[in-house]
Each structure stands twice: as C-alpha cells, then as structure tokens.
C-alpha cells in the first residue's frame, strides 16, 4: 500500500500512473547464535506480520512458516559540534521462520573487498615506512628543503 495521495486530474499524458507500495525489506546480518532456519529483516515501519509474509511468499516465493516482529529504538548520540542529543529513527525488525529443513546463511558480500583492503593497507604501511626512513635520514638538518637530499 502506498502512502501517497492520488494526484488531481491534469491534462496531458501519461494518465496511467503506477503507485508502488512503500513497502521494502532489507536482509540484515543475524545475531551470531541463531537457529539456521530463521532470517532477520529490517522492514518499513508500516508493514504488519501479514504484509511481511505476503511480501516474501508472493514476490520471492519463499515459504514462510512464522513471522515475529519487534521495533527497536534508534541510537541516541550527540550532534557533533552542537552538543545536544539527537536520535536515530526506530527500526522494525522481522524474524522470519522458514521450514525446519531449510537453512539460510548470510552471504559474505565483502569477501573480495577485504582482500583489496589488505593490499591497500600493505602499500600504506610501506609508504609510512619510507617516510619514517626519510625523516630519520634528515633529522640532523631540519632547515634543509626535501629536494636537497641526494
């Protein structure tokens, strides 16, 4: 269901407008100790348990046994440089139970990124090292510009 208002009639095309529901679900990483047939979602606040069940069954053909939902409070934090306390939005979390013979494992999306990160860190370390050696070499002559070095 959409929370948008159907607009007033206006001349011109296109007349046929499609209203997508503002229902969405985001798969989130479950807590570490969890039954294998339970999947965690963050979903839009307007969705009820029935909506969640229908969303998964009708769009993605996932057999859903049971849905439990909870609303978690957003984090409180201080606005940087301002000093007053602000709050993140609350989130609705859905725990979806699949049939007991099914299991779901949260995919490791950033596997490749991790390797890249390691490489980046390595080059950074090397750069740091060469800079340190440069400083060490020139510690006795602070006033001399860098291009002067042989």
């Amino acid at each position: 269901m959409s929370t948008r208002w159907y607009p007033l009639y206006q001349r011109g095309n296109p007349q046929l407008r499609v209203f997508l529901p503002n229902f969405w679900m985001k798969l989130i990483r479950p807590t570490p100790k969890q039954l294998k047939n339970i999947v965690h979602f963050q979903c839009s606040m307007e969705m009820t348990k029935c909506d969640i069940k229908n969303y998964l069954e009708k769009i993605y053909n996932i057999p859903v046994i049971d849905v439990r939902t909870k609303i978690t409070m957003g984090k409180f934090k201080k606005e940087v440089g301002k000093g007053y306390v602000i709050k993140d939005d609350d989130r609705k979390i859905a725990f979806v139970t699949l049939p007991k013979n099914m299991s779901f494992e949260f995919p490791d999306i950033f596997e490749k990124v991790k390797d890249q990160d390691d490489e980046n860190m390595k080059s950074l370390e090397e750069a740091k090292k060469s800079f340190k050696s440069f400083i060490n070499r020139n510690k006795d002559r602070k006033d001399v510009p860098s291009w002067f070095t042989i």
């Binding site: 570490p32 100790k33 969890q34 039954l35 339970i38 046994i65 049971d66 306390v85 139970t97 007991k100």
Partner: protein
C-alpha cells in the same frame, strides 16, 4: 618449623586467659595436610555453588527448600515461561533438551503394561455402552454457555469445554466400575483443574547478544565471553482431571537404564526466544496440585486438553503431532518435578529413584497416551553435559476413540483405545523398598510439623505468599528513559547529586529475598517490662 613453634609459644602465653589441658594428640605420625584445592576462578565458583546445593539439601522441610530456591532474587527470577498450551513451530528439540526427555514413539503401550491387557479388554467391553452414552450426552445432548475471552479463540474454548466434561464422565465411569476390583482407585484423589507448576534451572544455553556485548567491555571476562549462565524455567499447566495415589507407580524400565547412552538427548543451546518462548519475572514455584503434607502425593494419571492445536497457525499435521508430544513431555515432566520437590528433591539435588506418571491428551474423540519416567531433575550449568541420566517418555499418536456421532449414537467405537485407557487405570502403584524422602528431616518434613509457633506461622505465611506470585508492594525501581539518555548514555547532568541506584552501582535485581526491614514491633506490643527488640524475627533459610 622452629620459628613457628616459638611463635605459637608466645601466642599461647599472650592469648590464653584461662588454664587448659594441652591436647594429647596434637601431633600425628605422618603429617596431615589440608586438601590441595584448585584455586582457579572456575573451581572457586563451582565450590561456592556446591556449598549452596549442600545447604539446600540439609534444610528440613519442603517449604523451606522452596523459599531457599528463591532466596537470591527479591523481585523473582527471570523465568523462561513454558505454558502447557503454548507450543511454537518446531519446539520439539528445545522441549526435549529442557526436560531432558528421550521420546520413544510407540504404537501400543510399553511392555510394562502387558500383564493387564487381557483384563482391560474385558473391562472395556463392560463399560463400552456407558462411555458411548456419556460421549453422546456431553457432545450433543447439552446446551452450553461458553465463556468467551480475548485470550482464547471460541473454537478452542468450545473444544476444551466439551473435552473437559467428557473426561470427567469417562473418569467417573471407569473409576466407579473398577473401584471394587482395584483398591488403589478407591483411595485415589481426583483433582479437577488443578494447578500444576514446576521450576527448574537449565544450563548450557547461549547468553543473549546484549550480555555478550556487555561482557566485552570488561577485561576479566576476556577468556569467558561465551560462558553460559543458568536459565530459570517455569512450567505452568492445568489438566482437566488428575488422579493421585498414596504410593508411587512401578518403573517402566529399570532405573539403571536411565544412564543408557541410547537415550541421550541432543543439546539445544540456542536461546529460547529463537523458538518462541519468552521470559517473565516471577518466583519459582513447584506445585503438583496440592499443598505439602497431603497423603496422596504421587501422580497417577492426568488428562489434558488439546484445544490449543486449533489456535496454532497451520504448520502441518506432522508439527501438530509433535506439538502434542511436546505438551505431554512438558506436562509430565512438570508434574513429576513438582512431586519430586515435595519429596525433598530440588533442581539442585537429584532424584535417587524414578518417578512415573501417565498422561492422556484428548479432545473427546482423539486420544493420545503417554507414559513418562522421571529419572533425573538436575540439568543446571555443567550438569547439562555431565549428567549421564535421562528421562524417558513413551507416546502414541492421536487415536480415534470413535468415528462419528449419528442420530444420537456413537458409530465405530474403537475398543483398543478404550483398552489402553483402562490399562492406565489398572497400573497398580506399589510400595517402594527405599527411603522416599532422603533429603527431608527426620521429624519435621513439612512446615506444619514445626513445633515453634512463631516459626511455623511465619514460614507458612511466607511460603504461601511467595507461591501466590503477587507483585511486591512497591514496584521494582525503574531506570526512566530520560535518565538513560541524559544520565547514563550522555553525562549531561553531572551537577546533580547521585542518588539513583544505577548511579550508586546498585543492581536492584540482584537484591536478595531477605534484604528488607522486618515488620516493626510498636512499643506497646513489646514484652513487659523492657524489650529492646524493635523488629520481628524472620526465619529465612540460611543459604
């Protein structure tokens, strides 16, 4: 050695205020050293726990043991609530583990019932017509008012109401018919809608994520971030009818079989909220449908409803049958555990002999039969892995007692089902050769036996008040949300005096049951001539 002697010499000279004869056997031939103890944190903790178990074991009366179980928590334990009729999807592995039960699906009753098969067959023929009449009368012949509530759907209430009255009639017919032939039924007590409650600790359950995050902040938790803590579990149930007898039933299998590794129950370490069981603060109670001191204290047979199956989301027929098995294991274990508590055992002090009960789950037409043998009740902490004993539950699928009711007649009554039910009634309780109450006092076994008036009345009042689970007069202290935001998470009110419990590093939920001021004695009521005793004596067990 020399220095020690001199030291002792002077010590004696200085400290001895009166003359005494020197001990003759002060020295022995071989030196006697105190036992070397493991002083690691784990070992010290476990020794402390052991001493608590010993203290509870040494208490004399049933009520004192029950108060002792609740001593560490002023506001009650945060119990995992196992209601008899709340069974989420796929609850079987968890229920098996929490009740430590090995489930054996059977077609017929186990071998222990083989002797009574022939007699039961004859009796079932005799009572068949009466039972048919009762079923017709209770199902169609009466106009009923159903009590509606928001808690249960109407179809559940209807089914349970009809099943309750059918069960009452069936029990009346069979008891009356057998009363002359089998004496144990004549003296058996019948409870209608009794209160069955049981409380125990389950170890080996994963800690919640919030606790894990909290532990990460402290260096001393570094090596034991995952360490389990005991989960208090509370069972609440109410059968339609329960029969009790003065003597316990015969074991279904020998007690030595309890340690058979074939009966090992797989561990279920995921938190109960993953399955769909949630927790509540309350005092742990063990009540098998009567108060301590009743003579008929061994369960014989209990009838439970199965209306809750209709209220479940449609998880499929297999899961519904599993749910019935779960209900049977929960209710049988719960009732037997409560009975064993009245025999002086607790969740900390294990049973020394098996206890048996028989459970029937029915809606009037479908009947499932369960026989349960309780071998062990200890499963707290490391005992979850180390305790070799397991409980055993035999159970049948739901069987149809009759096909339909047409024109005021029952069609197709299945005598085999009736026979099984009668076999349950013919199972005779027996005298046991061993001591049934090894952990209770010789003279005082229940509070009513205590001679001291003050102590007896105080313990009775306290016990009854505790198990009534009324809320405390003052609500537990609450950390308000504004305090959490502006005092705990962000220190914005540093100028204010620190008076709230969280500012004084006090956790109100760690308060012990006896940490309160006893009732004040007004001056006029104090004993004549002069008494400085301002407060009444309390008799909390010393654990």
């Amino acid at each position: 050695m020399y220095r020690w002697k001199i030291h002792r010499f002077y010590l004696k000279r200085l400290s001895r205020q009166y003359s005494q004869v020197a001990l003759q056997n002060e020295y022995s031939e071989t030196p006697e050293y105190p036992p070397i103890m493991d002083n690691s944190l784990q070992a010290r903790k476990s020794r402390k726990r052991e001493s608590l178990f010993e203290k509870i074991k040494k208490l004399d009366t049933v009520e004192e043991k029950q108060i002792a179980l609740n001593m560490p928590r002023y506001y009650g334990w945060q119990c995992v609530m196992l209601h008899e009729d709340t069974i989420p999807y796929n609850a079987m592995p968890m229920i098996k583990c929490y009740t430590r039960s090995h489930f054996i699906p059977v077609e017929n009753l186990p071998n222990a019932y083989a002797d009574t098969a022939v007699a039961a067959g004859e009796i079932s023929k005799e009572v068949k017509t009466y039972i048919e009449d009762a079923i017709v009368m209770e199902t169609d012949g009466l106009e009923r008012d159903f009590i509606l509530s928001n808690e249960k759907p109407i179809n559940v209430v209807k089914e349970d109401t009809i099943a309750r009255s059918i069960v009452k009639q069936v029990n009346r017919i069979i008891s009356n018919h057998l009363g002359e032939k089998v004496p144990h039924l004549l003296s058996a007590q019948v409870d209608y809608d009794p209160r069955h409650e049981a409380f125990w600790f389950v170890g080996g359950v994963d800690i919640p994520t919030s606790v894990f995050k909290w532990r990460k902040k402290y260096s001393w938790y570094k090596n034991r971030l995952d360490e389990n803590v005991d989960r208090p579990v509370q069972y609440l149930g109410s059968p339609f009818v329960a029969l009790r007898s003065r003597l316990p039933l015969k074991p279904l299998i020998p007690y030595s079989e309890a340690e058979n590794p074939d009966f090992k129950v797989p561990k279920f370490s995921f938190g109960p909220q993953n399955v769909g069981y949630f927790s509540r603060f309350r005092y742990g109670t063990n009540i098998p449908g009567f108060w301590p001191g009743d003579y008929d204290e061994f369960g014989f047979l209990s009838y439970h409803g199965r209306g809750h199956i209709l209220a479940r989301n449609n998880y499929g027929p297999d899961d519904n049958i599993e749910a019935l098995h779960c209900q049977a294991m929960k209710s049988s274990f719960g009732w037997l555990l409560a009975q064993s508590n009245y025999q002086g055992f607790t969740t900390y002090n294990d049973l020394t002999y098996p206890l048996i009960t028989q459970t029937v789950i029915t809606n009037g037409q479908l009947w499932s039969f369960y026989a349960y043998q309780l071998n062990t009740v200890v499963m707290h902490n490391e005992n979850m892995d180390l305790n070799p004993k397991h409980n055993i539950c035999f159970g049948t699928k739901p069987l149809k007692l009759y096909e339909t009711i047409e024109d005021g007649k029952v069609k197709g009554l299945n005598e085999e089902v009736l026979k099984m039910l009668i076999q349950f009634y013919l199972n005779t309780p027996e005298e046991r050769e061993h001591d049934l109450k090894p952990y209770l006092g010789k003279e005082d076994q229940v509070v009513a036996d205590i001679v001291d008036d003050n102590k007896r009345c105080w313990l009775e009042d306290t016990y009854k008040h505790l198990v009534s689970n009324r809320p405390r007069h003052f609500l537990p202290p609450e950390t308000y949300l504004w305090e959490k935001i502006y005092k705990i998470q962000h220190n914005t009110r540093f100028h204010e005096a620190r008076r709230r419990p969280f500012e004084l590093d006090i956790n109100p939920f760690q308060r012990r049951l006896n940490e309160h001021l006893p009732p004040y004695i007004p001056k006029v009521l104090r004993p004549y001539p002069r008494s400085k005793k301002k407060f009444e004596t309390t008799y909390y067990p010393d654990v």
